[in-house]
């Protein structure tokens, strides 16, 4: 039975199976009962009457024997007529047997009786003719005994064989009928047992299937109820947070509205300042031209300074060369004075005054030498300063050139600034207009936010109802689960 079938379908199929089994059992019962009836009818309507007629045939034969003996003894015509009636009864019975002979063996036995009966009638007719002709009783009896009695015995034996046959047939029919009845009992009993077992199986299967499916479904419903409960809780808390957030958003939107108005005012001021800036930029343009001319003059002056400084460096170099000669002369003078002092010391007392002069010359040479070194240091400082000044001046010259170029850029930048300021003024006005539109839009948004906040509160209320419904559904599913599953109830 398929799992996705509905419960009604399953129950209908189970009941249908049960009804089919009942119908099958009824049909089998009818068929078997019909067989039993047929077999019993055969016994009652066929074999029984045949048996009765066979037995009557034996009785009629005895009546024939006794009737013919009566005639032999009396010789009266009435007895002979009565004998004829008995013969007619025998013949009718035999004819019935012939007509009802259903079997080949029965037909043969009836034919044998008929043949013996004909022989018996011929023999008795012969004896009766003798009696009619006046033959005495003893002779007639003797003749009867000799001619008729053997045939009568044979006839009786034939009838007895037939009666025995019919008895056997009757017994066989009774046994067959009993057997059919027993088979019918077995069939009906077996089908009844099978129907009961199948009904039990269907009942157990349906019970288990329905219990399992309903239990699983109820379990799903229960878990879904729990999830729905949890989701409803989360949704409720989320809606609370959303309400809070919406309030915050409304506050922020209000601040944004105020800010937009401030921006509009600021944009208006920016437009005014931009116009003033454009005016200043146009006046700055002429100032830049004047400054550019001044820078050109500075550049020429710097070039002259550089040339002078280069000349100063060359002169300093010449002074250094002269100073080298002076220093060398001072050193030679020093050596000469030392040697003069040595010579004066060797001259004894006479050389003392000369030694004084030599010493003074040495001191003078020392001082000249130290002065020359000092001047050399000064000259080096001057040359270094000149070099530094030249380099600085050249750097300044380059800076002036760069400045001149940059002033050109500044001039063009001022023009660009003037153009951009005009654009800025226009943009500031557009910003002012847009900001006013934005403020209007923000007011609409604020109104929409208020509506959303109201909707969030209503949603929060409906979520609470959902939560209650989910709780009720969870408890209901639990009760249903207890109804379906005994374990759940335990």
């Amino acid at each position: 039975m398929r799992r996705e079938w509905t419960f009604g379908r399953k129950i209908a199929i189970g009941l249908t199976i049960k009804a089919l089994l009942t119908i099958i059992m009824a049909i089998v019962a009818l068929v078997t009962l019909q067989s039993v009836v047929t077999s019993k009818d055969k016994v009652i309507n066929v074999d029984g009457p045949l048996m009765v007629r066979a037995t009557q045939l034996q009785t009629v034969r005895q009546q024939l024997v006794s009737g013919f003996r009566n005639y032999l003894l009396s010789g009266v015509q009435d007895d002979l007529d009565a004998l004829q009636d008995t013969r007619k009864t025998f013949a009718d019975t035999l004819a019935d047997l012939k007509a009802d002979a259903a079997t080949e063996q029965g037909a043969k036995l009836v034919d044998a009786i008929s043949a013996q009966y004909d022989n018996y009638n011929k023999a008795t007719d012969t004896i009766a003719q003798l009696r009619q002709n006046g033959t005495d009783i003893a002779t007639a009896l003797a003749a009867y005994k000799d001619q008729v009695t053997p045939i009568g015995t044979t006839l009786s034996a034939a009838i007895t064989d037939y009666v025995t046959f019919r008895q056997n047939e009757l017994n066989a029919s009774q046994d067959a009928s009993t057997k059919v009845a027993q088979q019918a009992e077995m069939w009906i009993g077996g089908i009844a047992v099978a129907a009961v077992l199948l009904a039990l199986f269907v009942a157990v299967y349906l019970t288990r299937s329905l219990t399992r499916q309903i239990g699983a479904a109820v379990g799903h419903v229960q878990s879904s109820s729990a999830e729905l409960q949890s989701a409803a809780n989360q949704q409720a808390s989320g809606m609370k947070e959303q309400t809070i957030s919406m309030n915050e958003i409304a506050t922020t939107i209000s601040e944004l509205l105020a800010t937009s108005r401030q921006i509009a005012e600021s944009s208006q001021r920016v437009a005014q300042i931009a116009e003033q800036t454009a005016t200043s930029a146009r006046s700055g343009d002429s100032t830049v031209d004047t400054a550019q001319m001044s820078i050109e003059g500075i550049r020429r002056q710097v070039d002259q300074i550089v040339n002078h400084m280069v000349d100063l460096g060359k002169k300093s170099q010449q002074i250094g060369a002269v100073l080298d000669i002076v220093a060398e002369l001072a050193e030679q003078t020093n050596i000469l004075s030392i040697n003069a002092t040595i010579e004066a010391a060797g001259a004894g007392e006479n050389g003392k005054r000369f030694a004084i002069v030599a010493d003074e010359i040495r001191k003078l040479a020392d001082r000249v030498g130290s002065s020359a070194k000092e001047v050399r240091s000064l000259i080096d400082d001057v040359r270094s300063s000149v070099n530094t000044t030249v380099m600085a001046t050249e750097t300044g010259s380059k800076a002036v050139e760069t400045g001149s170029r940059q002033f050109g850029d500044v001039a063009s930048a001022f023009k660009a600034i003037a153009d951009l300021v005009a654009t800025t003024t226009e943009a500031a006005r557009e910003i002012e207009l847009s900001t006013k539109q934005q403020a209007t839009a923000v007011e609409q948004v604020n109104l929409a936010i208020a509506n959303v906040t109201q909707a969030a509160r209503e949603t929060e209320a409906s979520t609470s109802q959902t939560l209650e419904t989910a709780s009720l559904l969870a408890s209901t599913s639990g009760e249903l689960l207890r109804l379906v599953q005994a374990k759940a109830a335990a």
């Binding site: 002092t341 040595i342 010391a345 004084i356 002069v357 010493d359 003074e360 001191k363 000249v368 002065s371």
Partner: protein, 176 residues
């Protein structure tokens, strides 16, 4: 500004020239006896970075940038022969004689008074005129060539040229 700086520089140079001239004149005005009696003349020099001095009286002359002609010899301190005042004198490296490494550029020549021999050295620091009290016996007696030391801010051992010549003579190879 520039003119003022030049004027100041010119003034300083003029003052210095005037001071030199006055000092030169004052030297002739002082009494020579008192000036010379208590003072000693020293020639200050440096050998391999070490400061030394030589008594002026032990020298016969000081010369700069004289050509020294090298001559083959087995003595490390002998640097060659130089012509001084019309005579040829042997030149010895004073730094090697004092136990230092040979000098690379021997610019100065000191002619000894005691013998016709010259001593070469690379750095001449100048002439010193000191009070005789500044000279004191040298405490380190390991070197015979240094007997006094001038107690200046940086002490200068005084090389005794006669002892240097005597030591040089002792190291000369004996003839015959």
């Amino acid at each position: 500004m520039r003119g003022e700086a030049l004027a100041t520089g010119d003034g300083r140079q003029t003052d210095r020239a005037r001071a030199l001239r006055e000092a030169f004149d004052r030297g002739f005005a002082e009494t020579p006896a008192t000036a010379m009696a208590e003072q000693t003349d020293l020639l200050a020099l440096s050998l391999a970075g070490h400061r030394f001095a030589i008594r002026l009286g032990e020298a016969a002359g000081l010369f700069a940038d004289r050509k020294v002609t090298p001559a083959p010899t087995a003595m490390r301190e002998f640097r060659g022969i130089a012509g001084v005042r019309g005579a040829l004198v042997p030149v010895y490296d004073l730094a090697v004689l004092m136990g230092y490494a040979p000098a690379e550029h021997l610019r100065w020549l000191l002619l000894a008074r005691e013998a016709p021999v010259a001593f070469a050295f690379d750095t001449f620091d100048g002439q010193l005129r000191l009070d005789s009290a500044v000279l004191a016996p040298h405490q380190d007696q390991t070197r015979d060539t240094v007997r006094e030391v001038a107690r200046l801010d940086t002490p200068r051992p005084v090389i005794h040229i006669p002892s240097v010549i005597a030591a040089l003579r002792r190291r000369m190879p004996k003839e015959g």
